[in-house]
Symmetry: C2
Subunit: 328 residues, 2 copies
């Protein structure tokens, strides 16, 4: 089958269109003809040799997809060939076919295109996990989402506003990204290039008492995050794009404000965890997705043969929303 193969011969690893054997669906697995997949930062890290796929996963890149069921493995009861499905993958999405456990697959709402559906799983499941499973957000709370215009950020804004009834502030790096976030429902968008987010948030929401912060940035924001959190506040790390080394940490605030700090990734979780998360997301949000009240934000769509361009766009932080690949 067609697949993107990582070529490590040159100065830096690049993806090249190539051939890879078709995967074979195991027990309760679906063989899916991939219609679209989307780019994640983890793909860039894996391509660079820094993020090996978990045991048992496809060696190919690609952590999410939408497509059509071509064949079902033993014991499959939920889907039949021809069904439109989308979902998370531990790898293997950058290819013409992939396998997925039937309980990890969600039916594509008829209102969504394959491009749209492929842009949902990583962004929305990660955001849902961070907001509810880890962040334990409740209605009316104040949420600060860093990298608001990222895939996860745009999903988190919408989930926090449309499903969870929160007040939302975001940080972004451009006027266009700020506009996008406001359009998605953010109550406040701080351009970190022009304003200090601590001052902006504390100034607007005085007395500052953020209940939950979702942060893929890390060390540079540590102190300001801790300062902004209110009593019983939670700080959820999804990545450390700005580094993870903090020179001076005062733990005292953890006790004084009863804070919780945690870090989480989705990819290395157990299948059981990911199934439970997928099912929970599906049960609580598929209606809003079908109604268009939750919208995957797509930055741009690339033919699979131009996947390197999509990676470069992400590497340069130019994208707002998801980068979709199709045409495998």
């Amino acid at each position: 089958m067609n697949a993107l193969i990582v070529d490590t011969a040159g100065e830096r690893p690049i993806m090249v269109p190539g051939e890879h054997p078709d995967p074979v669906p195991g027990k309760r697995e679906l063989l899916v003809g991939v219609k679209a997949t989307a780019v994640n930062r983890a793909d860039l890290a894996q391509k660079a040799g820094k993020y090996p796929p978990p045991e048992g996963a496809s060696p190919l890149l690609g952590l999410e997809m939408s497509g059509v069921v071509e064949q079902t493995g033993r014991g499959v009861t939920r889907y039949r060939p021809g069904d439109r499905v989308f979902g998370l993958l531990p790898g293997g999405g950058y290819a013409a076919r992939c396998v997925i456990h039937e309980e990890m697959a969600m039916p594509v709402p008829k209102e969504l295109t394959f491009e749209q559906a492929a842009a949902v799983p990583e962004a929305f499941l990660t955001a849902w996990q961070a907001l509810t499973w880890l962040g334990e957000v409740v209605e009316g709370e104040r949420v600060l989402i860093h990298a608001g215009a990222s895939g996860v950020g745009t999903a988190a804004i919408q989930l926090a506003k449309q499903r969870l009834g929160c007040t939302v502030a975001v940080t972004v790096g451009s006027v266009e990204k700020a506009d996008l976030c406001r359009k998605l429902g953010a109550d406040m968008a701080v351009n970190y290039r022009h304003e200090d987010f601590r001052e902006a948030v504390a100034g607007a929401w005085s007395p500052a008492g953020i209940d939950l912060i979702i942060d893929p940035v890390g060390a540079p924001y540590w102190e300001r995050n801790i300062d902004l959190l209110g009593l019983d506040g939670r700080l959820v790390y999804l990545a450390f794009m700005g580094g993870s080394g903090v020179d001076q940490v005062r733990l005292s605030n953890l006790l004084r404000k009863r804070l919780t700090v945690c870090g989480s990734t989705l990819r290395n979780r157990s299948l059981a965890y990911k199934i439970a998360l997928t099912q929970d997301f599906q049960a609580k949000n598929m209606d809003l997705l079908a109604e268009g009240r939750l919208q995957p934000v797509i930055d741009s769509v690339f033919d699979w043969t131009e996947a390197e361009k999509a990676h470069q766009r992400m590497e340069q932080n130019l994208s707002a929303g998801k980068l979709v690949l199709e045409g495998f």
Copy 2:
């Protein structure tokens, strides 16, 4: 009524026997004749002027007590005069009488003396909160408890072993304290004066993968704690007796091991929270307390007029288990 009054006239604040007006039970409150109370580090801090009592609390010291109901306020349904009760207080235990919300009071099992009952609430409720509500420990997990011979430590060892089926390691500062912890059920007791706990625990339980650490020490243990935690590990701070400033923190482990770090105190929690915690503890542990499978560890009992001696014993880290005051 008799009460311990903080005298700030001298070089450093001390408690002196004195008089204080009787408290008046409000709606759903009990007026309790205090038979015994116990010492907590928060009392030392409050005496030193560093830990003001929460709003609405008695200005007197004393965060727990056992005694006999003398009078009931409006709407009380659970207790009658003459009932033996014990429980947490937001303050006011260092006196001949105190008031407590009826849902914060637990009946003293007939097998327990007042001295024993007074040694239970802060230690066991804090330990229960840290292990289950915050630490979310499940059967079979590995727990590391710092300051194992403290009131909270001795309670946590027993709860972890007797009720929660965990494997338990502790750190302590003397041979006697190590023996005490082993007697209470600890599988491993590391004397931090002679051994590095990271090496000892990692060596004995290789590959090191602690699921939960309960730590009142803070900064000096930060790095070793983080190193010892396994995947999905939790670190619960109860105090920072060794300081709270950490240099050079690497947050990366939070993500890589999906760790959760939180801090919590009990005193400033809402009444509703403390009632729920008290009721949960009572429902799940009172049988073990009555059977003697959970035992409050009492270091020593002092007449109330000698309370300063008890405080000094705690200040000098000489106590193993609780310091009880009686005879008000």
